[in-house]
């Protein structure tokens, strides 16, 4: 498939945003149970502001993917059947809840909802945090299922797609959280960096597993089933177009095999290995955490590019020879 930069930016930006939200609320939950010192409302509030900025940037990027962005509102109608439609609903819902979560912290609007028997107070921000967490996971699932549900694209048609979207978004968000904490609440940076290391390792395992899986895939469709002729040697002489078509542009990445072979180790290095090294070093040198996030973001852009480029669409069987 041809990687569209709008979608690459959308999925990486909102992935980082969801991960950061999850990181912030994870910390608040720990604090709620007394496992970590509760931070000021400003810490969670301004953190959520970063979440909002990333989500908004992702949303803007997504509009560049549409031929008719002015009709985007229509995309919310077919949620019964379409994962894309579900994403279109869940993304603004998550944005709304994250916004309210941020407002509840920044403006101190935290009315008590219920006091649990142990004396633990559940206020509005906790309620919004739980809702936001569920929506963040729902959004990960929707985004990944857009690709995983296409059974013709065997590289994507796997639970690993969903797992990896969750893990890579989580990794990105937790690294950002550790960087944010290193300046906003330095004594808490290690908590986020620790989780970031765990999630990044899991993400690396998941991504390598999917690379192994994809390397062993055999195409279901062949030129024989495509045109219904049983002959071992079939060559296309003409595709019915002299100068290429939508079908030759949209379904092929247009880069050489050598480029593809180069970008694979590159995204593993930048997206996973180097950030892990920097995270480990960042436990003592916080300044490296910001560098880790930026480096990994570049790596995740490359990863997403590769994710799209690697998927081989069966329609390409019909479009091999211009003429």
């Amino acid at each position: 498939m041809k990687p569209a930069f709008s979608v690459i930016f959308l999925t990486t930006l909102i992935g980082a945003a969801q991960g950061l939200f999850l990181a912030l609320f994870t910390h608040q939950s720990y604090a709620l149970f007394g496992l970590l010192p509760m931070q000021s409302d400003n810490f969670y509030g301004y953190g959520t502001l970063i979440v909002m900025v990333l989500l908004a940037a992702g949303l803007v990027a997504s509009f560049f993917h549409l031929g008719r962005p002015e009709r985007a509102w229509r995309a919310a109608t077919m949620w019964r059947t379409s994962w894309l439609s579900r994403e279109v609903i869940v993304l603004p819902a998550f944005m709304g809840v994250a916004f309210l979560f941020g407002v509840s912290h920044l403006f101190g609007i935290r009315p008590e909802i219920v006091t649990l028997p142990g004396g633990m107070v559940v206020d509005l921000s906790v309620l919004l945090g739980v809702a936001g967490t569920l929506l963040a996971f729902a959004l990960f699932i929707c985004t990944a299922m857009i690709y995983a549900c296409l059974r013709f694209l065997k590289e994507w048609n796997s639970p690993l797609t969903v797992i990896n979207y969750i893990l890579m978004g989580g990794s990105s968000g937790f690294i950002l959280a550790s960087f944010y904490a290193s300046s906003a609440a330095p004594d808490q940076a290690d908590f986020f960096a620790g989780w970031a290391i765990i999630i990044t390792v899991l993400a690396l395992i998941g991504r390598v597993a999917s690379l192994f899986r994809n390397a062993r895939l055999k195409p279901t469709s062949t030129i024989q089933t495509a045109i219904g002729v049983k002959h071992p040697k079939i060559t296309q002489r003409s595709m019915g177009a002299m100068g290429g078509t939508f079908n030759t542009r949209e379904f092929f990445h247009g880069k050489s095999d050598a480029f593809l072979r180069t970008i694979k180790p590159a995204f593993l290095l930048f997206g996973f290995v180097l950030p892990l090294v920097l995270l480990a070093l960042g436990l003592s040198t916080p300044a490296l955490l910001g560098f880790a996030f930026i480096l990994q973001y570049v790596g995740l852009l490359a990863e997403r590019w590769f994710f799209f480029a690697q998927a081989n669409h069966p329609q390409n069987l019909y479009y091999q020879t211009v003429g």
Binding site: M1, H65, L66, G67, R68, P69, R71, A72, R74, A75, A76, T77, M78, T81, S82, W83, L84, S85, V88, I146, C149, L150, R151, F152, L153, T220, S221, I223, T225, A226, I227, G228, V229, H231, K233, I234, T235, Q236, R237, S238, M239, G240, A241, M242, G243, G244, T245, F246, N247, E250, F251, H313, P314, Q315, N316, Y318, Y319
Partner: protein, 243 residues
Amino acid sequence: MTQLALVIDLNVCVGCSACVTSCKEWNTSGSAGPLVDERPYGENPTGTFFNRVQTYEMGTFPNSETMHFPKSCLHCEDPACVPVCPTGASYKRKEDGIVLVDYDKCIGCKYCSWACPYGVREFDEQEKVMKKCTLCVDRIYDMTMPEADRKPSCVKACPTSARLFGDIHDPESEVSVAIREDGGYALMPEWGTHPSNHYLPRRKTKMKIHADELERADNPLKLDQQLPKPDKDQSTMDDVSAW
């Protein structure tokens, strides 16, 4: 229930592309607006077509054969492109099974084209919406036309009558009979999309002659045993045949 479809006889198609040009002509002049053509006379012409004729070669020269292969939307009975559409712009008509795009609802996300294994949807770079074969839905129900003209443009144009049009759910229709009796098959059956359009295979008319048919079967002398054939220098009974 009706399922309109095309049946394309690959044994008859000569690859003239008359179906391509007549399709383009009809559908670029319709109420839905023109089908884009960029640089039509330039170096790299490109544009949106609903129907294309491709050519394949089987085998290696000199033992090779050429097949012309017209391809348009197959109007699948279980279309994978329809449920993924986020706006409902892509839909399958209940009354006749035609898969259509509502160009006024399409947001141009191209997701449907990703979900089609056959590569028959083509994005219109000018109008920024997805387009595809309509089975000439604006023609086949047009009561102002003579009944003989109420067929898809490609079917009307084909000089060799390689394209049949009809309801594949009616067992007695021309298309159903053709599929049933002439070996009609579907493309990429492995995906379970159940394409409505079918193709009739290339086939050769052959006569099989068995060895015994070359000899007189009613030769009374052969009733008990096969007589030895005389050598070339020996005489035969009639100087012409070997018994």
